[in-house]
């Protein structure tokens, strides 16, 4: 009887494990997002709570090597320029394992941040521990958080805008619209969007 029980437990655990892999993990809009302490390109650790005067954050999972991420680099810089002063700074995180993707090494991140004159932290998710909690699957992948008494609430998940190819041809600026709404104390109307990106290499 005992063996049956143990066997049953084993089967149940195996089943749950299998189920977990298949179900989409990570945050949904409305969830409280975790803070972190990750190494920035200046070798200092950065946490969301340390960023002064923030009303929220534009957390962007991005990287060096991905052509889609590259296509959005200038637009990410522009987002920080526009929204940092309104209380929504950009915090960029490279989720890739540099051992799997050489172009996303910490040294290369430092080079890129310098070349492109990043005005925001560019952090390495060492050990690839933070991105799975958020549920990021690709770069670029944006999470807009609003700072509240309960914690940092996820208000938007998805793409930066509707045209990776040509910034001039963009019709809908998803991230800007969302942050504009939050700044005005309004509800974000488009809370989730999807876009092609490079799968994260853990």
């Amino acid at each position: 009887m005992k063996t049956v029980k143990i066997l049953g437990a084993v089967v149940l655990v195996a089943f749950l494990a299998a189920f977990n892999v298949n179900s989409v993990a990570g945050y949904k809009v409305g969830d409280i997002a975790t803070d972190f302490s990750l190494k920035n390109v200046d070798n200092k650790k950065v946490s969301l709570k340390d960023i002064k005067d923030a009303k929220g954050y534009i957390v962007v999972f991005t990287c060096n090597h991905c052509p889609y991420a590259q296509a959005y680099e200038d637009r990410i810089i522009a987002l920080d320029k526009k929204y940092k002063k309104l209380g929504y700074p950009v915090v960029a995180i490279n989720p890739n394992n540099p051992e799997k993707q050489k172009d996303d090494s910490f040294a290369k991140m430092q080079e890129r941040a310098k070349d492109k004159k990043f005005t925001f932290p560019y952090l390495l998710d060492e050990g690839q521990k933070i991105y799975p909690q958020y549920g990021a699957t690709k770069t670029p992948h944006v999470y807009i958080l609003q700072k509240t008494a309960k914690g940092n609430v996820v208000k938007y998940i998805g793409a930066i805008d509707d045209n990776y190819e040509d910034a001039a041809a963009v019709k809908v600026k998803y991230v800007e619209n969302a942050v504009d709404a939050l700044v005005k104390g309004k509800e974000v109307s488009v809370k989730e969007t999807k876009a092609i990106g490079c799968s994260i290499k853990a």
Binding site: V24, D162, D166, K194
Partner: protein
């Protein structure tokens, strides 16, 4: 029951109307484009553009046009792989799709490789890649930047990460946001017979 019949009747009528419209554009397309492959015969949509370089050519479609290839209703099982030349895991699994396409040719399995390369890379990277790797499967280029609109039409669960694969026939449809080994791919396809 009658209502259902009328409904079906209307749909058939609309279907005929739509196909006859398509046929017109198709004949126009045939005049200008490269020889049509097996998959693209009949009512195949007109490409936005046909890129050609060094004897290799690839047709470009927006999603509305591409959707035709994701909704075939015949006795073939289609394996549609979404990839890009810059996507390392995609390039790694590409030989498996090529192998599958050759091995199951007689068994009505057809592979289609949908490239999501950046449009600036079609001539500089995609076409040379097809030539260098001597890809035998059908390769088409999807140029449709409004991804939030079309991604969910491929599959509601697709987050947008590459590689991704859709396997379907007239009875079944399954989507995979993952990288395949050859064994896994062959096993999945065998479930469609």
């Amino acid at each position: 029951m009658n209502r259902v019949k009328i409904g079906v009747g209307i749909m058939l009528f609309l279907g005929v109307m739509l196909t006859s419209c398509n046929k017109k554009t198709e004949t126009e397309a045939e005049k200008t484009s490269e020889p049509v492959t097996e998959l693209q015969k009949n009512n195949a949509p007109t490409p936005l553009k046909v890129y050609t370089k060094d004897g290799v050519s690839v047709k470009a479609y927006d999603f509305d046009k591409l959707e035709y290839f994701l909704k075939q209703k015949n006795d073939t099982t289609y394996v549609v792989n979404f990839w890009a030349t810059w996507c390392v895991p995609c390039v790694e699994e590409l030989p498996h799709f090529e192998k599958l396409n050759v091995k199951y040719k007689q068994d009505k399995v057809k592979v289609m490789l949908v490239s999501l390369d950046m449009y600036k890379m079609v001539e500089s990277r995609l076409l040379p890649f097809i030539k260098e790797k001597q890809l035998k499967s059908d390769v088409v280029y999807l140029r449709d930047p409004d991804q939030n609109t079309w991604l969910p039409k491929v599959d509601s669960t697709w987050s947008g990460a590459l590689p991704a694969t859709l396997i379907y026939n007239k009875d079944r449809r399954k989507f995979y946001e993952q990288q395949f080994t050859y064994e896994e791919l062959e096993k999945e396809v065998s479930n469609f017979k």
